[in-house]
């Protein structure tokens, strides 16, 4: 091989550069503490579904509610936990308990770097200062 030294050196530099984010993080990274959610203060202890389900798939539930309310006019959600009937409404039902978008919704969404577009139209309740 001609110029083996240059080629191998080049390859080594290339590999170091390509993997540099990994090295950088291994040396300098600080772990970001996972968000701590502020739970409702109105005495509610129970959501429409159990905590694990809500945590993992609240977005699917909200999409399902949206389609059922807008397109099929089905507005009552019967909780599988205890059969309680809820109005399928982000602003009335969800935000009725989780009154602070900043400390509940945004805390996780910012941590996960997702930006749902619910709030382009739906109105978040006024935050208490």
């Amino acid at each position: 091989m001609y110029d083996a030294g240059k080629i191998i050196a080049g390859l080594v530099i290339f590999l170091v550069l390509v993997t540099s984010p990994l090295w950088y993080n291994a040396v300098f990274a600080t772990t970001v503490a996972p968000p701590k959610l502020v739970l409702p203060t109105n005495g509610s202890t129970r959501c429409v579904e159990d905590t694990a389900t809500m945590r993992a798939s609240h977005m699917d539930l909200l999409n399902q509610w949206r389609d059922e309310v807008v397109r099929q006019d089905q507005r009552v959600f019967v909780s599988p936990l205890d059969g309680t009937r809820y109005d399928k409404s982000l602003t009335r039902t969800c935000l009725g308990c989780h009154t602070n978008k900043k400390t509940f919704c945004d805390a996780c969404h910012t941590y996960m770097a997702v930006s749902p577009y619910c709030w382009d139209c739906h109105v978040a309740p006024k935050e208490e200062s």
Binding site: S44, T45, R46, R75, T84, Y86, H122, V123
Partner: protein, 264 residues
């Protein structure tokens, strides 16, 4: 061979019973505290208003008498977070007034009482039985609800192509050229705003009907200037008015079958 199959079926049957029984026991056990925790949950929502075919009757005489057009417009625009733009180019409206000759072209003539000819007519989406806006919508963001004939809007699905704006012969549809939020005088958190790039219009207050309330404009009319009801119900107030009084519809010759009737 036979013996082993018998044994297998026995074991399988027993285990199915066991698992099902265990699961139901467990469910029962979990449900006990749940009912005890229920008080913070909302009571069942109020009974919705339903019909087989919603329609509106607008009494122009009563409007002229009480001059209450603005009150209806304001009531509607307030509860639906309709923005107010100062220029006609960006204007968004669900319900508004037109001069008689614009609302009913071809019906007016030069010898009408000038007061009648220039009197405002309250106009809105006609919730046509044959809605041209629905035919042209490429995403089914607007559609005629089969259960009660309301021409619905799904703002989640509207892509802002504005075909419907062109198709509607009544000018009932407005496009959000700009972000409407800064132009809403007072935002009602119970109703969403819209975003830039979607079309909006009157929905016969389907959200209010679902919660057992009359449309906002009808509620704002204190003298029965507008009446809302079921066309398919022969005993309804709208049917009584249509039978008793002479009514006209806007541009009925186009074949859209508008469902807003005007007592002239």
């Amino acid at each position: 061979m036979d013996g082993s199959r018998r044994r297998f079926l026995k074991v399988a049957g027993l285990s199915v019973l066991g698992v099902a029984g265990g699961a139901s026991l467990k469910l029962g056990a979990e449900q006990e505290p749940a009912t005890a925790l229920a008080p913070e949950l909302e009571p069942a929502p109020t009974a919705p208003l339903t019909a087989r075919r919603w329609a509106m009757v607008v009494d122009l005489r009563k409007f002229e008498e009480h001059r209450s057009w603005d009150r209806c417009v304001e009531a509607c625009h307030k509860v639906h977070n309709v923005p107010h733009f100062d220029n006609r180019k960006d204007e968004v409206k669900w319900i508004w007034t037109e001069p008689f000759e614009n609302a009913f072209p071809g019906v007016e003539h030069p010898y009408l009482d000038p007061e009648d000819r220039e009197a405002p007519v309250l106009v809105m989406c006609n919730h046509c039985d044959n809605p041209p806006c629905v035919r042209v919508c490429p995403t089914q963001a607007t559609w005629k609800r089969a259960s009660d004939g309301i021409v619905m809007m799904d703002w989640h699905r509207c892509i802002g192509c504005r075909y419907c704006v062109v198709a509607c012969p009544y000018g009932s549809r407005s496009f959000n050229w700009r972000d409407p939020r800064p132009f809403i005088p007072e935002i009602d958190p119970d109703f969403p705003t819209r975003m830039r790039g979607v079309v909006e219009k009157c929905t016969f207050c389907e959200d209010r009907l679902a919660h057992g309330k009359q449309p906002a404009c009808v509620e704002a009319c204190e003298h029965g200037e507008m009446v809302f009801g079921d066309l398919e119900d022969p005993n309804s107030e709208v049917r009584r008015l249509l039978a008793e009084k002479f009514t006209i519809r806007r541009k009925a010759n186009l074949g859209t079958q508008p469902e807003v009737y005007y007592i002239v």
